[in-house]
C-alpha cells in the first residue's frame, strides 16, 4: 500500500512538474533578469535579448519578455559604436516590441517610460537633427508615464537623465535634473524587487547621477 501511495505521489508530482509551464516561465524570466542586471558587453546584451525572445516565443500571452527584450535592444543601440543605421535598426525593433507588449495589456506606465528611453536613444544618434523631433516625444511619453503611475521610479529617473543631457539653453541642465533624480530615489526605495518579475532597473544609475548632484 505504501508503495502505491508513493507511486501515486510520484505520479502527481510528475504531472504537476511537467504541467508547470508557469513556474518554468518564472524560472526562465528570473534567470534572464539576473543575467540582464550584469550585462557588461554588447555580446551579453545580444545573448540576453535572445533569452527574452525565446521566452516571448514560448509564452506568447506575456508582455514582460517583450518589455525586457526591448530594453536590451535600447541598451544595444547605445553600445553599438560603428553604425548609426544599426542603432536605428535596434530601436525600430525595440519600438515594435514595446507596441507588442502594450497590445498584450502590459503596464502602460512602465511601457511609456521605456518608450521615452527609446526616444532618448534616437536623439543620441544625431542630437542636432533629432533633438527637435524626439525631444518633445521624450517628455510627452515620460510625463504620461508619471501621470499614470506617480510611483514609477524609472519615469522620474529618465526625466532626470533627459534634462541632464539637455543643454541649459534648451531648458535642461543638471540643476533641474537633480530634482527628478531625488524624486526617483524616493520611488526606488519603496520598490519591492525580490522575486518579482516586474521591471526594477535604473536604481544604480540614478545613484550615480545623484552622486554628481551632491558633488556640485
Amino acid at each position: 500500500m505504501k508503495t502505491l501511495i508513493l507511486s501515486i505521489t510520484i505520479l502527481f508530482s510528475n504531472l504537476l512538474f511537467s504541467a508547470g509551464t508557469d513556474s518554468l516561465y518564472e524560472n526562465a524570466m528570473l534567470q534572464a533578469m539576473e543575467k540582464q542586471s550584469s550585462i557588461s558587453s554588447f555580446e551579453d546584451a545580444q545573448s540576453n535579448l535572445n533569452d527574452f525572445e525565446r521566452i516571448m516565443n514560448a509564452k506568447k500571452d506575456a508582455w514582460l519578455p517583450a518589455y525586457y527584450a526591448a530594453y536590451n535592444l535600447i541598451v544595444m543601440s547605445f553600445m553599438e559604436k560603428e553604425s548609426s543605421s544599426k542603432k536605428d535598426n535596434y530601436l525600430d525593433k525595440a519600438d515594435e516590441y514595446i507596441a507588442a507588449a502594450t497590445e498584450k495589456g502590459g503596464d502602460e506606465s512602465e511601457l511609456l517610460a521605456l518608450q521615452g528611453y527609446s526616444y532618448q536613444a534616437r536623439i543620441s544618434i544625431n542630437t542636432m537633427v533629432r533633438g527637435m523631433t524626439y525631444g518633445p516625444r521624450v517628455s510627452t511619453a515620460l510625463n504620461k508615464a508619471i501621470a499614470l503611475n506617480e510611483a514609477n521610479p524609472r519615469a522620474h529617473f529618465l526625466l532626470g537623465q533627459n534634462l541632464a543631457y539637455t543643454p541649459e539653453f534648451f531648458g535642461g541642465g543638471m540643476d533641474k535634473a537633480c530634482v527628478h533624480f531625488t524624486n526617483a530615489k524616493a520611488k526606488y526605495d519603496l520598490e519591492c524587487t525580490d522575486g518579482s518579475l516586474m521591471p526594477n532597473w535604473g536604481k544604480e544609475r540614478n545613484e550615480q547621477f545623484l552622486g554628481k548632484c551632491s558633488a556640485e
Partner: protein, 716 residues
C-alpha cells in the same frame, strides 16, 4: 500486486521524468562560411535554447521528445527553421543563414543625387544643413549653391545645374510639380525660393539622371518632402529686420494643423544698406501658409499644404542713361495634397493633387504686362513589393497648364495664351541583386496635347559597393521638356527639347568623413532656336538647337577632425557649349562658368549656445559678347567671390525656446561684377557702351529673433 503497481508507477514515472534528454549541437554560418555570433537558436514552444558563440557554435539540451522544430533567428538575416527528431541521441547540425536584404544596409544609388534627410541612413546632408549654411539666407536654393554641380548666377537667384539654363530645373513637393517655385522678379533683382526650408524634412537634389517618376526637367530635379505630423502645440513668433511672422500649431492625436502668416518689407533694411538700385517701392509682401496632416490609419497619411502670397516692388532701371520705371506685383496661390497608404504586405499606393495659380502684373513706363498661369496636376502611383529583392513602381499623371499674357502699349494690345495637357506614365523597378549590387531600371512616357507629340524616356542607374566604405554608381537617362512658356505662347509647332545624361560616381564614407567624385556628360538636342531679326514670327522658330555639358564634381565633408566643427568643400569643373536661341554658333552660355568652388564651415560652441558659420564661394568668370568685336561669348567677366557669415544663438526668453540669428553677406566687400551687358545701339563714336551687372547692394545683413512658445516647458 504491489510489484505490479510499483511497475506501473515506475512506467509512468519514466514516461514523465526519466525522459531521455536530447542534445543538439551545431554551428551557424553565412553563405560565405563566416560564423554568425549571437544568433538565437531554440526549440519552438519550449524555453530550451541558446545563443551561438564567437565561433557560431551552439549547444541545446532538451527534455522534449518526438518531433521538434528548431528555430534560428538573427537581426538582419532571414529566420530559418529545421525539423528535428528528439530521441535521446545527440544531433549535430550545420546551418546556413541568408541575409535579409531589406533589413540590411544595401548600397544606395548616389550618381547624380544629393540627399538630405533626417530619417534615412547613409545620406550626405541632413535638413538642418540647408538652414544653417551661411550665405543661403534661409533660401533652399541658396544652400544648394554650396553644393557641386551648381553655378552661381547672382543676378538671377535661380538654380543653374551643370551648364543647364534655369528653366531646366524643376521642383517637386510631395511628388507634385511646383509651378514657379521662385519669387517673381525683374532684370537684375535676384529671385528667392518661395517655400521656407522649415516646411520640409527631406530633400533630394538630383543634378542629373533622376528617377522615371519625374519628368519635364532637362537638367535637374529638386524633390522635397514635407514634414509629418507636427510634434506638439506651439506658437511661434518671428521678428526680423525685414518683417515679422506669427505661427500657430495644434496637435491632436492623429491630426495636426499649422498656420503661419508673415509680412516682409525690406524698406527699413534698405535705409541702412546702400543700394545699387533706385527703389520706388522696396520689396514687401504677405505670405500665408497652412499645413494639415491626418494620420488616416496605422500606415496612412494625408498631407495638405496651402499657400498664398502677394508681393510687390518698384524700381527705376537706369540702363545706358535711360530711366525706366518698373513696377511688379505678384499673386501666388497653391494647394498641394498627397495621400499615402500601405495596402497590404505587397502593395502601397500614393495619390497626389496640386493646383497652383500665379499672376504677375508688370507696369513699365511704356506698357503693362499681365501674366496669368495655372497648373492642375493629378498623380496616382503604386508600389508592388514582388519580393525582398524586387520592387515595382508604376503610376500615371495628368496635368493641365494654362498661360495667358496680355501686353498693352498705348494703342496696341497683344494677347497670347496656350493650354497644354500633359499625360505621363512611368514604370520603374528597384532590383537588389545582393546587398552590394543594386539597380533601378525605369521608363517614362509623356504626351503633350499642345505639341501633339509623344516621348519615351529610359532611365537606368546602378550602384555597387567596392569595399566596406566605398561604392561606385553609374547612371544614364533621357529627359524631355516642353519648350519654355515664352515660346509656347508664340507657337505650338515645337518638339520636345531633349537631354541625355551619363554619370559615373564614386563615394567613400569613413569615420564621418565623406568624399564624392562624379564625372558626367550631358548631351542636348532639340533646343529652341530662333532668328533674332524675326522675333515675332513663329516661322523663324525651330528645334534645331544642340549642346553639351561635361565636367567633374567633387565634394568632401568632414565632421570628424574638428570637435564641434563641420566643414565641406565642393568644387565643380564645367565645360559646356550650346547653340540655341539666338546664338550664331556653338558657344559657352553666360550662365556656365568653368570653375565653381565653395567652402562651408560650421562651428558649434556649447558654452555659448552659439553656432557660427561661414561660406566662401568663388566662381570663375562667365562668358559674354562684346559687340565691338567679332567674337561671340568669347570673353570672360571677372571672377565672383563671396564670404558670408552667420551666427545662431540658442537661448531661453521668458522660458521659451528662442533662436537669435544674424547673417552678413559679402563680409570683405568684394566688388563683384556678375557679368556685362552692352547697349544695343552704338553711340556717336560708333561704340557699343558697356555696363556691369552687379549685386543690388554690396553687402547684405539679416537679423532675426525666432521664439517658440510651446506648452512643453512647464514639464521640464
Amino acid at each position: 500486486m504491489k510489484r505490479i503497481l510499483l511497475l506501473i508507477a515506475l512506467c509512468i514515472f519514466s514516461l514523465n521524468n526519466l525522459q531521455s534528454q536530447t542534445t543538439i549541437t551545431g554551428s551557424i554560418n553565412t553563405k560565405k562560411g563566416e560564423a554568425i555570433i549571437g544568433a538565437n537558436v531554440f526549440l519552438d514552444g519550449t524555453f530550451d535554447g541558446a545563443s551561438s558563440d564567437l565561433d557560431g557554435n551552439f549547444t541545446i539540451e532538451t527534455n522534449k521528445e518526438g518531433e521538434g522544430l528548431l528555430k534560428i533567428s538573427y537581426l538582419g538575416f532571414l529566420p530559418i527553421e529545421e525539423k528535428v527528431l528528439l530521441n535521446g541521441t545527440t544531433l549535430k547540425l550545420q546551418l546556413t543563414m541568408k541575409e535579409n536584404i531589406s533589413e540590411l544596409e544595401t548600397v544606395t544609388i548616389t550618381a547624380g543625387a544629393f540627399e538630405a534627410s533626417d530619417e534615412k541612413k547613409a545620406v550626405v546632408l541632413n535638413s538642418i544643413d540647408i538652414v544653417t549654411t551661411a550665405g543661403a539666407a534661409g533660401d533652399i536654393y541658396g544652400a544648394l549653391k554650396a553644393l557641386p554641380g551648381t553655378q552661381t548666377v547672382g543676378e538671377s537667384g535661380q538654380l543653374f545645374v551643370r551648364g543647364g539654363d534655369s528653366y531646366e530645373s524643376k521642383t517637386y513637393i510631395d511628388g507634385m510639380q511646383v509651378l514657379k517655385p521662385f519669387s517673381s522678379s525683374t532684370q537684375d533683382v535676384p529671385a528667392r525660393g518661395r517655400f521656407s526650408p522649415f516646411l520640409f524634412k527631406g530633400t533630394l537634389f538630383a543634378t542629373g539622371a533622376y528617377s522615371a517618376e519625374f519628368g519635364q526637367g532637362l537638367s535637374s530635379a529638386l524633390i522635397l518632402e514635407t514634414q509629418e505630423l507636427a510634434e506638439k502645440d506651439a506658437t511661434g513668433i518671428s521678428l526680423m529686420a525685414i518683417g515679422a511672422g506669427l505661427s500657430q500649431t495644434k496637435r491632436w492625436k492623429n491630426t495636426s494643423l499649422s498656420a503661419e502668416v508673415s509680412y516682409t518689407n525690406l524698406k527699413p533694411l534698405f535705409g541702412l544698406i546702400e543700394q545699387n538700385i533706385e527703389w520706388n517701392k522696396a520689396p514687401n509682401g504677405i505670405d500665408a501658409n497652412m499645413s494639415f496632416r491626418q494620420k488616416t490609419s496605422k500606415t496612412g497619411m494625408l498631407k495638405v499644404m496651402a499657400n498664398f502670397s502677394q508681393n510687390q516692388f518698384g524700381l527705376n532701371n537706369y540702363s545706358f542713361g535711360e530711366k525706366n520705371a518698373v513696377d511688379l506685383k505678384n499673386k501666388y496661390g497653391s494647394l498641394i495634397a498627397s495621400y499615402n497608404e500601405i495596402l497590404n504586405d505587397q502593395w502601397s499606393m500614393k495619390v497626389g493633387y496640386t493646383y497652383a495659380n500665379n499672376n504677375d502684373e508688370i507696369d513699365l513706363d511704356y506698357a503693362t504686362v499681365d501674366q496669368k498661369e495655372d497648373l492642375n496636376q493629378l498623380r496616382l502611383g503604386f508600389s508592388n513589393y514582388l519580393s525582398n529583392k524586387v520592387t515595382l513602381n508604376f503610376g500615371l499623371e495628368s496635368a493641365r497648364n494654362t498661360f495667358d499674357e496680355i501686353y498693352e502699349e498705348s494703342t496696341t494690345r497683344f494677347e497670347s495664351d496656350f493650354t497644354n495637357f500633359t499625360s505621363a506614365a512611368y514604370v520603374e523597378s528597384d532590383l537588389i541583386f545582393t546587398k552590394n549590387i543594386v539597380a533601378r531600371v525605369g521608363l517614362r512616357a509623356e504626351h503633350s496635347s499642345l505639341l501633339n507629340r509623344f516621348n519615351i524616356a529610359p532611365r537606368i542607374s546602378t550602384a555597387f559597393k567596392t569595399g566596406k566604405e566605398g561604392q561606385f554608381s553609374l547612371a544614364y537617362g533621357q529627359f524631355y521638356q516642353n519648350p519654355e512658356r515664352d515660346f509656347l505662347k508664340l507657337s505650338d509647332e515645337f518638339k520636345f527639347e531633349k537631354a541625355s545624361h551619363y554619370i559615373a560616381n564614386y563615394q567613400v564614407t569613413k569615420n564621418r568623413r565623406t568624399f564624392r567624385g562624379e564625372v558626367y556628360w550631358k548631351e542636348y538636342k532639340g533646343l529652341v532656336k530662333y532668328d533674332p531679326a524675326n522675333l515675332f514670327n513663329p516661322q523663324y522658330y525651330n528645334n534645331s538647337g544642340t549642346g553639351y555639358s561635361r565636367g567633374i564634381d567633387v565634394f568632401f565633408r568632414d565632421k570628424k577632425s574638428i570637435k564641434y566643427g563641420d566643414y565641406w568643400i565642393s568644387y565643380s569643373y564645367l565645360d559646356s557649349k550650346r547653340d540655341y536661341r539666338d546664338f550664331p554658333k556653338e558657344a559657352t552660355p553666360g550662365f556656365a562658368p568653368a570653375h565653381s568652388f565653395s567652402f562651408v564651415y560650421k562651428h558649434f560652441v556649447p558654452e555659448l549656445g552659439c553656432q557660427f558659420g561661414a561660406t566662401y564661394s568663388l566662381g570663375s568668370g562667365r562668358s559674354y559678347t562684346d559687340p565691338n568685336t567679332d567674337g561671340f561669348n568669347d570673353l570672360k567677366a571677372p571672377i565672383y567671390q563671396d564670404l558670408s557669415m552667420n551666427v545662431s544663438y540658442l537661448t531661453n526668453l521668458f522660458g521659451n525656446f528662442t533662436v537669435v540669428y544674424a547673417s552678413v553677406g559679402n563680409v570683405p566687400g568684394f566688388k563683384n561684377v556678375f557679368n556685362y551687358r552692352f547697349d544695343n545701339q552704338a553711340n556717336e563714336m560708333g561704340i557699343y557702351e558697356r555696363e556691369a551687372i552687379t549685386p543690388t547692394s554690396k553687402r547684405f545683413f539679416f537679423v532675426g529673433v525666432f521664439v517658440t512658445i510651446g506648452n512643453e516647458k512647464s514639464n521640464l
